[in-house]
């Protein structure tokens, strides 16, 4: 049986599934329920500085995007950091950590861009016994208007400076939570690293408007006739988050820096994918908010089963295994030629592949009078769209042409497998070196 325990920057937890800093981790009551359900750790909902607590709107805080049968695909929120008194949270953190010493309890923090403010709150957190801190440089709504959250995360210089203060005033492991609302995620990650951060976590929520009420002509969630952008999360953001994790994991300046993955993780498989790309653990919010805490049982059993099947005895066996396979377009093998193939036994003759290819792509699928669909190898560019729109899994597959076979579309004879040609060796590359370019006689 696979060992799911993880050690993330010295913080141990019985499994890699943590609840992200969000409403599920706002109170002792919730966190105790989460730990009873089996969560490996929590990042406590963001604490602010001492003083009158923040206030939230009293209308709807969430907006949603649905798939079929109201399956929640994306959630947007305009909730701020904790609106409970600082001391209340600190007392609860201390009690919970004492009762669950084997679980990870990390405290999320967001205070103004002022060293003294950070020093003060770090002193208080240090007394709780918490395992670490996460710096919330990500929330894109509300607090950003006050110079915190993503307003910090979008300026690498601020990220670095605050991280330095935190490391100076606290011995706790420090995770910097990054905002995706930036053009190059690597820059704040590098700033965090240079500031001394032990890890980054990503992604925080994405600036978003989930829907517009066409009767009221107002974005939703609607607060008395007005709406504002919120932070988007849930399954819909996973592809964006995975790319950002991979960017940081593979960039030489940031490679090796521990990453805590966040962004639409709903199942064990999602978590495994993020971890394969280099994340050390997985933080979850929307899935728990949709289905409750019990989902962690599926996550643990699924990850464990898959690890057993693959022969991984511990999570570190597969963390980062896919990172080296993330590359730039220019390094892709242009002599790798595939053609779509339709399994006529599986085909249900819906014709979606035909419509997609005929209307929007390469006219590479033929349709007979009796609704038999076949691929025209001399037109197929192997774009994969037919595979993606086909409702039957496994019905359309891509067959790789073998060395010596002729690509009927280009006339090229497929070279031996080790005889690869990327854009860098392609004769059409104006920046290529004519002496090393390889022509296939097309």
């Amino acid at each position: 049986m696979a060992d799911l325990t993880t050690d993330f920057i010295g913080i141990k937890s019985p499994n890699p599934f943590w609840l992200a800093s969000a409403p599920p981790t706002d109170k002792e009551y919730n966190v105790r329920r989460a730990f009873e359900a089996g969560w490996g750790g929590v990042v406590w909902k963001t604490l602010g500085e001492e003083g009158p607590p923040v206030v939230n709107v009293n209308g709807p805080r969430y907006g949603a995007i649905y798939g079929a049968d109201r399956r929640l695909l994306g959630l947007n929120n305009i909730e701020l950091i904790t609106d409970r008194p600082l001391q209340t949270n600190l007392d609860e953190i201390k009690r919970v950590k004492a009762d669950y010493p084997d679980r990870a309890v990390v405290v999320s923090l967001m205070v103004p861009l002022d060293e003294d403010a950070w020093r003060k709150i770090l002193d208080r957190v240090g007394e709780t016994g918490a395992d670490g801190v996460e710096l919330n440089f990500g929330c894109p709504h509300g607090m950003a208007e006050r110079g915190m959250g993503s307003a910090v995360g979008q300026v690498p210089e601020y990220v670095g400076r605050i991280t330095e203060w935190v490391k100076k005033h606290s011995d706790l492991p420090c995770i910097v939570k990054l905002t995706p609302n930036i053009s190059d995620i690597r820059q704040p990650a590098l700033a965090a690293k240079q500031g001394g951060a032990d890890a980054v976590s990503m992604i925080n929520t994405i600036n978003s408007i989930t829907s517009v009420n066409l009767d009221a002509m107002c974005p939703e969630p609607m607060i008395d006739g007005l709406g504002t952008h919120g932070g988007y999360c849930g399954p819909a953001v996973k592809p964006i988050a995975m790319n950002m994790v991979a960017e940081v994991a593979r960039w030489e300046e940031t490679a090796g820096m521990p990453i805590s993955a966040i962004g639409g993780i709903s199942t064990w498989r999602d978590a495994a994918e993020f971890m394969a790309l280099g994340a050390g653990n997985a933080q979850v919010c929307t899935a728990a908010m949709t289905y409750g805490f019990r989902i962690v049982k599926e996550m643990c059993s699924g990850l464990s089963q898959w690890m057993d099947e693959k022969g991984y005895s511990k999570t570190s066996d597969f963390i980062g295994m896919a990172t080296p396979r993330v590359t730039d377009w220019q390094h892709l093998n242009l002599d790798y030629v595939t053609k779509a193939e339709i399994d006529q036994d599986l085909c249900i003759s819906c014709g979606r592949c035909f419509a997609a290819c005929e209307d929007t792509s390469h006219q590479a699928i033929a349709m007979s009078d009796d609704r038999v669909f076949t691929v025209k190898d001399d037109e197929c560019v192997a774009c994969n769209l037919c595979v993606n729109v086909c409702p039957v899994e496994g019905c359309i597959t891509m067959r790789r042409l073998s060395p010596g076979e002729k690509d009927l579309r280009t006339g090229m004879i497929i070279p031996a497998e080790d005889d690869k040609r990327t854009w860098l060796e392609h004769p059409n590359n104006p920046d290529g070196d004519p002496l090393t370019c390889i022509s296939r006689g097309q």
């Binding site: 079929a68 249900i348 003759s349 819906c350 979606r352 409702p391």
Partner: protein, 439 residues
């Protein structure tokens, strides 16, 4: 309550009124908005969709389902009604399991088609529930068209002609319009007086006058109509029923299934309707199934449906057969009636096993029967002055008969005797009439 399913003879009130009401409730309750969304989401929006090809009225099914999915069932209804003005009724009575849903790629792939019929009902009910009539009558043309028969073919023709600005007079022998929609379809398929409500809704186009109680050959004649109107459309259906031609057919208790179904549809109180303890239905089509199922629902103790060929040859769809069996109807295929026995009133039916050619083998058996419904097909009544194809009115192209200026469609012409086919024929004849009148 004095009677029960075991009470001998043909009696009313075998079941309590509450049970009867439950038995005759909507066979397929309407989808609610969320159910419709979920059902619509299963549609793959096929290219040149097989369902559309299978629909006799060529409704763009993937389009209307997508319109439901995007929250515009009213637009979906318009898509349906553009092709089939009786789309509401067809959603209820079409044998979708042998038409659109049979060829749905999800039926082929998973044995579970998209619920096209119920989605069509959701769309049309939404629009009709709001009493919206999304068609506008064109400027009057001054042309007058007579329609004979207010069934699906006649109504479809009349609506299309009225929409083009022609003045239409519909004549029907029965006291109410609707034809078989009103008189011939099982109650649980068209509850809450839907047939009549649909006619009222259809008439909102304007320019249609309804003349009920007018029988062709008695109150009106084809010659008369031909001289008084610019064109005539006949959608007169099949006036007669086929006879068994066996001993005892004239015993009381031996009745046409269509009569029983019509009585059932027109009754105000199901507890008033007598039904036998031992009911035998002869035939294998939809009418036979409808009569058998409704006998059972009325409280008959034993209902047996006898059909002379093997069960797989029954014209009623497999779904209909299963429906009957699930309600407790006993289907005996491969038997033919030999004689009906009884003193004044039928008491038993003698049946013979048949061979693969449906010919009696000689081996017989007898079933008790105090009520026998004949459902072996309706018969065509000839119309003076029109050629027939041997069985029905002969038509070419879009319903042109052998007489100039006279068109025909629906059950009185060749083609499957289905509501949806009648609508298509009425619609297409109307298009042809319009082209002829304005040409």
């Amino acid at each position: 309550m004095t009677n029960s399913p075991q009470t001998p003879g043909v009696v009313a009130e075998r079941l309590q009124a509450t049970v009867l009401a439950e038995n005759f409730a909507d066979l397929h309750p309407p989808l609610d908005a969320h159910e419709a969304q979920v059902a619509a989401d299963r549609c793959y929006f096929c290219h040149d969709a097989p369902c559309m090809e299978a629909c006799p009225t060529d409704i763009d099914i993937p389009l209307f389902i997508r319109q439901i999915m995007t929250g515009t069932p009213e637009a979906a209804a318009k898509t349906i009604l553009d092709q089939n003005i009786l789309g509401g009724m067809c959603a209820r009575v079409c044998p979708t399991e042998t038409l659109c849903e049979e060829v749905c790629v999800r039926e082929v792939a998973e044995g579970e088609p998209v619920q096209i019929g119920r989605l069509q009902r959701y769309a049309t009910d939404t629009l009709m529930g709001a009493n919206v009539h999304p068609f506008k009558r064109a400027e009057p043309t001054g042309k007058r068209v007579a329609v004979v028969g207010a069934g699906p073919a006649g109504l479809a023709a009349a609506h299309r002609l009225a929409m083009y600005g022609h003045d239409v007079v519909i004549h029907d022998a029965k006291p109410k319009p609707g034809g078989l929609n009103e008189y011939g379809i099982a109650s649980y398929k068209t509850v809450e007086n839907f047939a009549a409500r649909e006619v009222d809704w259809l008439m909102q186009i304007g320019g249609i006058t309804m003349e009920t109680g007018k029988t062709l050959g008695e109150d009106i004649t084809l010659d008369g109509l031909a001289s008084d109107f610019d064109a005539v459309f006949l959608g007169i259906g099949l006036g007669n029923t086929n006879a068994l031609g066996i001993d005892g057919e004239d015993l009381s208790g031996v009745v046409d299934a269509v009569k029983f179904i019509a009585d059932l549809r027109q009754t105000d109180d199901l507890t008033d309707l007598p039904v036998g303890r031992n009911v035998v239905v002869i035939g294998g089509g939809m009418t036979a199934i409808d009569a058998a199922v409704q006998s059972k629902l009325l409280g008959a103790e034993n209902v047996t449906l006898v059909y002379r060929r093997s069960q797989d040859k029954m014209p009623a769809s497999e779904y209909e057969q299963q429906l009957a069996q699930s309600k407790g109807v006993h289907i005996i295929p491969g038997v033919a009636p030999v004689s009906l026995k009884g003193e004044g009133h039928v008491a038993a039916i003698e049946l013979a096993y048949t061979d693969e050619n449906a010919k009696p083998t000689g081996e017989t058996f007898t079933l008790p029967a105090d009520q026998v419904f004949k459902a072996i097909g309706q018969a065509f009544e000839e119309v003076a002055g029109l050629d027939t194809d041997g069985r029905k009115i002969k038509v070419t192209d879009a319903g042109r008969t052998s007489r100039d200026g006279v068109w025909a469609g629906g059950d009185c012409t060749a083609g499957e005797d289905l509501t949806v086919v009648a609508v298509a024929e009425g619609r297409d004849a109307a298009e042809d009439i319009h082209a002829s009148l304005m040409g």
